[in-house]
């Protein structure tokens, strides 16, 4: 049995919608089978209105123990630090976030906006959106570098735009089943079990990546090759399990021919969407990818790439995802 409160700030509700796609367990199972006591959630028909506000206040006062506080969306601080761009139950949302974070055993930021500001914080960041404990890659965010929840943990970041439902449900089940101690975090406070691997781990195009064979067109063009070389795919530089735990139980963006946009990393959307950066690989000398798989350098990469291209078998240059 664990109590859970979920609020949305500068949000699109995408993480909630993603969450509702969950199976094993479903959102309903979490309540009926795993005893997650949802004190309040904006979509799921819980206590509302004055009763909801009473719940928030009871949590803040300590009268009602709050085990898990989930926040979706950016913390909006504008205009001029007032937070009035996002009012909620008669107050700036940011004030609720501060007080509820202070009393929760565990604080979970779900989705990029809550983790690092996300799209609302893209230049020029019109609403002064902030992440819970990071603004982009800079630690601190709204709650500050030193913030620790009641259990002594920093904010648990479950990034992604949106987060995959399993990244959330499995963490909730872990907490509900007494395995909170097994949740190890990486240096961006993401659960390692999900974010140690790369988006590329398990990608169906990884052989073509190894032989440096590029996809050169969308549509039927994605029946062959790897999206890294021309279309700005960030799969080799992005930490996520998108190709280990498939989306909607079916696929992933890279499998379906869409370049990874790196949405589990704090810089998303990369290059602030400057002209020429969307779905286009940034290159040096017009040929070599500017950004390379984590831990490699340009000299090693170009040497290896040249050898790989020579070694590339015929099938690696042909349509492989055929009708």
């Amino acid at each position: 049995m664990a109590s859970l409160l979920w609020l949305q700030g500068g949000a699109c509700s995408g993480n909630t919608m993603s969450f509702l796609n969950a199976e094993e367990p479903t959102a309903v199972d979490l309540v009926t089978d795993f005893g997650i006591d949802v004190l309040w959630h904006p979509t799921l028909g819980m206590e509302l209105g004055d009763n909801a506000k009473k719940i928030f206040n009871d949590c803040v006062s300590g009268e009602k123990p709050l085990d898990i506080f989930v926040f979706e969306g950016s913390v909006i601080e504008g205009p001029d630090g007032t937070g009035e761009y996002n009012m909620f139950a008669d107050r700036p949302m940011k004030d609720w976030v501060r007080e509820l974070s202070d009393v929760a055993q565990i604080v979970v930021a779900i989705g990029d906006c809550a983790c690092w500001g996300g799209i609302p914080a893209t230049k020029p960041n019109p609403t002064d959106s902030n992440g819970m404990q990071y603004l982009k890659r800079e630690q601190g965010g709204f709650l500050g570098t030193d913030f620790k929840s009641k259990m002594g943990l920093p904010v648990i970041n479950i990034p992604g735009c949106p987060a995959h439902p399993d990244w959330v449900t499995q963490i909730l089940v872990a907490v509900a089943s007494g395995r909170a101690g097994d949740i190890a975090l990486d240096d961006l406070q993401r659960p390692q079990t999900f974010f140690k691997t790369f988006t590329q781990t398990g990608c169906t195009r990884v052989q073509m990546f190894e032989y440096k064979q590029a996809t050169t067109s969308f549509g039927e063009g994605t029946r062959q090759g790897c999206l890294f070389f021309e279309f700005g795919c960030r799969g080799p530089m992005t930490h996520s399990p998108c190709n280990r735990i498939l989306w909607n139980r079916q696929s992933s963006k890279t499998r379906a021919g869409m370049p990874c946009t790196g949405c589990t990393e704090p810089e998303f959307p990369f290059f602030d969407l400057a002209p020429g950066t969307v779905f286009k690989t940034q290159k040096v000398s017009g040929a070599i990818p500017k950004e390379l798989p984590e831990g490699t350098d340009h000299l090693t990469y170009t040497t290896m790439a040249a050898a790989a291209r020579i070694a590339a078998p015929k099938w690696s240059k042909e349509d492989i995802f055929v009708v």
Binding site: N86, F88, P124, S217, G219, T222, S251, R255
Partner: protein, 542 residues
């Protein structure tokens, strides 16, 4: 439950905060006199500044940014942002790509219908105010949150149609797989067969088994309100379906009697006949649509022309420019404090449409609007002509009930269309034609998100976005008054609503939620004369 209320005199001012949570928070203020809503203000309570973020960015930035405006209809945002670029860059879109885009758009909408109906709307049907209704126990048995017999399968099975979205787009929500010139995917045989199997499962387990109690085809034979009533009692299975129960119960609790709104409607249409839109243009758009565009105002049909759309900010927290077409649109916020001094009260702009003889008027967007337009005679063969909801409008007039029926009716049509489009895909054909990325251009892209017309207007100059304006269904419906003091559609729909129990005015929830703009409802009541807070009410819960 609700706190005790003390009513003084016969007038109550209520502040509803927050009421909606689709594109941010929505507050509503209403004035209630003698148990009837006499005045209403809808207040969008959050600002995120997406149009400001897009200015100066890569022309394709909208493909990534606009889906994140709303995670509930992010696929619809992607769909229209791709067409905005197609028209701006004069692309070629292969027929297969049009089919895939149609399928994806339809799958998002098929997801939304049961999720919205059970998780958002039907919860209000088990409000204790209806405890004396004959159908109450049955409503509770079916629709009670989490434990209702239909609630769990309805909410859970809503994830199936978007599995098909993921097969083509990689994931749902928030893929960006539609690009100018087509789609990114090159589907394989099993992508098609698996999609068919998933949708058949969804049809079997929810649409036919739980919602209709009949085959989809049998339901679609209904062309009039009389047909629907006869269908409800045709056999035990149909009689016991959620649909037939809703038809009976909605009438028992009076949902067919209020919540009508402005009575004027807009659909910008969606789904293209692939052979008619290989070269998307703004001018050629209406003729290529399957779910047609159109305006119904003053009891007459009009062709849709995007140049007649203008946005007003006289009551929005933005600088005042008068009415602007979105290509000239501006988004420059002012602080709520400053705005309130000028009678501004919302972060939504007020979209208006010029109808000859009527001036710039507010229009309702959404499933009801779409089905009103679907009832216009003279449709070409490829387009949807469907008289059912228009017949219900003639017999019953607009209301919460008819709005719901319009929406749920679409589930059957969406399913049929999607299965056809899946069978039309030529797997060996092309899905993408690389476009020329022109340095400048103007584009208009539009679709029908499940909750209504959704459009982008883009201006590209020097290889970057000079202006980007998004007009959402929530803006059409939730937008505040304009400079002529005309109410927005939800404001208008709230006025005239009976409030039987001022301590628990569930009627306001029904109206607002029938527009699907509302996930959270709270009511704060204030004494009309002194402004003193009298009571705070919970809406829509058990």
């Amino acid at each position: 439950m609700a706190v005790t209320a003390t009513q003084e005199g016969n007038t109550l001012d209520m502040h509803v905060s927050p009421l909606g949570r689709v594109e941010g928070d929505l507050d509503v203020r209403v004035k209630i006199t003698d148990g009837v809503v006499t005045e209403a203000w809808t207040e969008a309570a959050m600002f995120r500044g997406f149009e400001m973020i897009l200015k100066g960015k890569d022309p394709q930035a909208g493909l990534i940014v606009t889906p994140r405006i709303c995670g509930i209809c992010g696929g619809s945002h992607l769909y229209k942002s791709a067409y905005a670029l197609d028209t701006a860059w004069a692309t070629h879109v292969p027929q297969n790509a049009t089919l895939v885009r149609n399928i994806a758009q339809a799958c998002e909408s098929m997801q939304s219908n049961p999720r919205y109906f059970y998780a958002i709307f039907a919860i209000d049907l088990v409000n204790k105010n209806y405890a004396k209704a004959e159908g109450y126990d049955e409503a509770v048995r079916r629709f009670a949150p989490f434990v209702g017999e239909s609630y769990e399968p309805g909410v859970t099975l809503s994830n199936k149609p978007v599995e098909v979205y993921a097969i083509f787009g990689g994931q749902w929500p928030h893929s960006s797989f539609m690009v100018p010139g087509g789609v990114m995917c090159g589907p394989t045989l099993s992508d098609i067969t698996r999609s068919i199997a998933i949708l058949e499962f969804w049809r079997d387990e929810w649409l036919e088994k739980i919602w209709l109690g009949s085959s989809v085809d049998r339901w679609l034979e209904n062309k009039t309100w009389d047909d629907v009533q006869a269908w409800c009692d045709e056999n035990e299975s149909q009689h016991n379906s959620d649909c037939a129960f809703f038809v009976r119960y909605a009438q028992e609790i009076g949902l067919h009697k209020y919540g009508g709104g402005v009575g004027n409607y807009l659909a910008t249409g969606t789904f293209f006949e692939p052979s008619l839109y290989e070269n998307p243009t703004v001018e050629g758009r209406n003729d290529a649509l399957i779910s047609r565009a159109g305006v119904y105002a003053g009891g007459e049909y009009h062709d849709f022309d995007h140049m007649r759309v203008k946005e007003d900010t006289s009551h929005s927290f933005f600088k005042d420019y008068g009415l602007l077409h979105p290509w000239e649109g501006r988004t420059e916020p002012i602080t709520p404090e400053e705005g309130k001094k000028k009678d501004k009260y919302s972060w939504a702009k007020s979209p208006r449409y010029e109808v000859e003889g009527h001036g710039y008027i507010p229009l309702e967007a959404g499933p009801l609007a779409r089905q009103v337009i679907a009832g216009r005679e003279g449709a070409p063969d490829h387009a949807d002509y469907d008289p059912l909801i228009m017949d219900m409008m003639d017999k019953l007039g607009p209301s919460i009930f008819v709005r719901q029926m319009a929406r749920m009716h679409e589930s059957a049509k969406l399913y049929k269309n999607t299965m056809k489009w899946l069978s039309d895909i030529d797997l060996h054909g092309s899905f993408y034609t690389k476009p020329v990325e022109h340095e400048s251009g103007k584009g208009f892209g539009s679709t029908e998100a499940i909750r209504g017309s959704l459009s982008d207007w883009i201006v590209i100059e020097d290889g970057k976005i000079e202006n980007y304006q998004v007009v959402t269904p929530t803006a059409w419906n939730v937008g505040p008054r304009d400079d002529q003091s005309q109410h927005g559609p939800i404001e208008k729909a709230l006025i005239g609503s009976p409030i039987v129990d001022a301590e628990d005015p569930v009627e306001l929830g029904h109206v607002a939620r029938s527009f699907d703009s509302c996930l959270v409802c709270t009511v704060h009541a204030y004494d009309g004369k002194t402004g003193r807070e009298l009571a705070k009410f919970k809406m829509g819960g058990m």
